[in-house]
């Protein structure tokens, strides 16, 4: 079965710094989602990637899917307190298989 591993599990970053979160799949990805979750709340859709080598950006967040479609990265530029939360990657297999998430803290 498909497994997604996210790294790091937790990240503490000074406000204004850049950061990268990684998501590695045990199998080829047909679609890869990135969601953000604030503690105890719902899932906020960030981006969906489908093609090998694809890259998408929204405001200061950029996500890439590698050519082999087994790895994705999420990069935040000039982080802000509003970026704090849990970032989840999800493999789209009609249902979504989620990783365990990366907990991001931003220090002011």
């Amino acid at each position: 079965s498909q497994e997604l591993e996210q790294s790091p599990q937790s990240l503490i970053v000074q406000e204004g710094k850049n950061l990268t979160i990684n998501c590695t799949s045990s199998k080829t990805l047909y679609g890869l989602y990135w969601y953000k979750q604030k503690y105890g709340e719902g899932l906020i859709f960030l981006m969906m990637l489908q093609k090998g080598g694809e890259e998408k950006s929204h405001e200061k967040i950029t996500a890439k899917l590698d050519e082999k479609k087994q790895q994705s990265s999420l990069h935040i530029t000039a982080s802000q307190p509003s970026h704090a939360g849990i970032y989840l990657c999800g493999a789209d297999m009609v249902k979504i298989i989620f990783g365990k998430g990366t907990r991001l803290h931003i220090l002011p």
Partner: protein, 116 residues
Amino acid sequence: EPEVTQTPSHQVTQMGQEVILRCVPISNHLYFYWYRQILGQKVEFLVSFYNNEISEKSEIFDDQFSVERPDGSNFTLKIRSTKLEDSAMYFCASRDRGPSPWEEQFFGPGTRLTVL
């Protein structure tokens, strides 16, 4: 902007009681899902529903669980006899069409179920 809604936002129940969690998916969507997230753990798929029947279910979705789309707008998850380990956040999701091409799955805000 259309959104998935869920009620109630928080449900507290006694062990052994039946609960029904309600969802209103986005109106023109065809695929419906329930996921759950036990506190501190990852979001897990429970069941998918298409064309008025279950299309896939996980091992978690045993005989105590059922889903229904009673009136063309609501999508419900029923737990017949709740257990302590059913305490979790339950998310409903919907999507417009199937895997080709892939479409975003829209998630509701969740219902926090607490079983005492």
